[in-house]
Symmetry: C2
Subunit: 322 residues, 2 copies
């Protein structure tokens, strides 16, 4: 459900109320039943099928939208008024959703769509919480997960994510780049829609290091990693200077850009896909997507939230499992 005080519940219910989404799957929302029911009032006319996670034998209602409530009802949290109580339940929902994914049969279609949370609030009730991606990596025992941003114009992947810039050069190993490229190649059709997607890899330093004059990581680490990756997938090129490669992607010269760090790809991505971005996590063993916007506490509960990005996220999750 995301943070119960944010626009998460609203965009979830607006999405499942939409016929083109509703027909895709049997939906189960892991969230506070009261919050979800409240968010349904204005937009969702059917009756929800509510279950308690504590109940041993949950039977999903295939004709309805299901809610699984992982714990006691929220008392002091309302739209626009975030609380630690709400943050705690948000995290509990993510934990339960991950457990459902982990314990479902590997043959079943497993996809999880998350709604926006306040990382700051969750970090206050769960020390060290950085974000969904890292939390789910731990919950799924995945060795490596990859964060992908899919927009209408660009598809970008940062090899390193939520770490200080200072730590980026040491974290960038050839192995990490190659393993990330493997996950991207394995999921290229899901994320770009193209089976022969052209993948570009950025440089770390300005002007691609200018042959070693502005840094040596291009020569020592990135170029050899790209060469290795070419052995399992031919349409990979790089390293390419970050100030030209994203523009090239915008002009459709490449389909996917794998970047070395967070801002290097997020800043150009948001210039052209601010409203359309979907976040996809690869490597969990199941699919996780998410709209790329925040909790928007300021407009929560007013019926103003745009469900476009959530709908994109649901459609992408559906594409992955169908």
């Amino acid at each position: 459900m995301g943070d119960p005080a944010g626009i998460g519940p609203e965009v979830i219910m607006k999405s499942v109320a939409s016929p083109d989404i509703r027909r895709l799957a049997i939906f189960t929302i892991v969230g506070d039943a009261g919050v979800i029911e409240n968010a349904s009032k204005e937009c969702f006319k059917e009756k929800l099928s509510v279950h308690q996670w504590a109940d041993k034998d949950i039977k999903l209602d295939e004709t309805s939208v299901n809610v699984i409530d992982p714990g006691s009802a929220l008392k002091n949290t309302s739209p626009g008024n975030p609380t630690l109580e709400g943050a705690k339940k948000t995290l509990e929902c993510i934990r339960v959703a991950a457990e459902i994914m982990q314990t479902s049969s590997k043959d079943s279609a497993r996809a999880m769509v998350t709604a926006p949370v306040s990382k700051e609030l969750i970090a206050r009730v769960h020390e060290g919480f950085i974000g969904h991606t890292e939390y789910l990596q731990e919950a799924s025992l995945a060795k490596l997960v990859t964060m992908v941003l899919v927009g209408d114009n660009l598809c970008v992947i940062p090899v390193t994510r939520h770490i200080p810039i200072k730590e980026v050069p040491a974290k960038l190993t050839g192995e990490l780049i190659v393993e990330t490229l493997k996950q991207v190649v394995d999921n290229r059709e899901l994320i770009s829609g193209e089976n022969s997607a052209r993948i570009a890899v950025t440089a770390l330093n300005p002007h691609c290091g200018e042959k070693g004059r502005i840094g040596t990581e291009e020569i020592d680490i990135i170029a050899p990693a790209v060469e290795k990756a070419k052995k399992f997938y031919e349409y990979i090129e790089g390293p390419i200077s970050a100030d030209t490669v994203f523009y090239g992607a915008l002009k459709k010269k490449v389909d996917i850009v794998v970047a070395m760090y967070h801002d290097q790809c997020l800043a150009p991505f948001k210039m052209v896909d601010f409203d359309s971005g979907v976040n996809v996590t690869l490597g969990l063993g199941w699919v996780r997507t998410s709209p790329d916007h925040g909790t928007a506490f300021d407009i929560s509960g007013k019926g103003l939230a745009n469900a476009g990005s959530m709908k994109h996220a649901i459609k992408l999750a559906f594409r992955a499992i169908s």
Copy 2:
């Protein structure tokens, strides 16, 4: 003239041949006379007034476009065929142009527009050459110079420039940020066209460091520098996460973005101003502008080069001195 084998000579002559540029000033091109004359053939119908730099007493012809040739004529360089001979003369032209700026009266209107060079080739004849900005800083004995990219949509400034990412965090001091902001504030009208331009300062780390959880430079260095800068200019805010601030600038919430490093601002800048960018150097004691494209050796000599960015650069230089 820029690299004689590149499109520099062509875009210079196309620009001065254009009536809206021609009427702005008395132009002097520092370059190889043969190369400039060759580039004039197709587009410039007047007779050039050619001078040798070695001549003691050069008298510019105010009715014509002047060429000052700093040395012996190029023999083996032609459009599309870059040589070390050409790189050497390119650098000599920059040196002479800088000398003209430095030795002209401080009361005279001093502006220099540079054309694209091959940094790689110049570095082979002049060890350690990184780019115009750094070379001119040395030539002008400037303590601090600032590189500004001015486009149709964005106006961005990297506090650090052509250095490896690894060196960025250590290079970023409060003093450097404050002094850069001073130069930006002093030149805000030139670069943004606004006397009360709103200036945003980026964070260094992802998500603005998330209150210290992803790096501490925001708290320790950038926020205090912004506070100091606010004492001499009120419309400064920051640090702001790089993945939202450029989009905000595109939506006109701010006029100028001061970023912490090269790719952080160049990647989003080129997404929306790939063709319109002008490079401006602040702090030299005189004005220097430049189109933000490269030598384009592949299309040189074919009459195909677009002079739009060079014209922008000339107009901006003129705005600075008028």
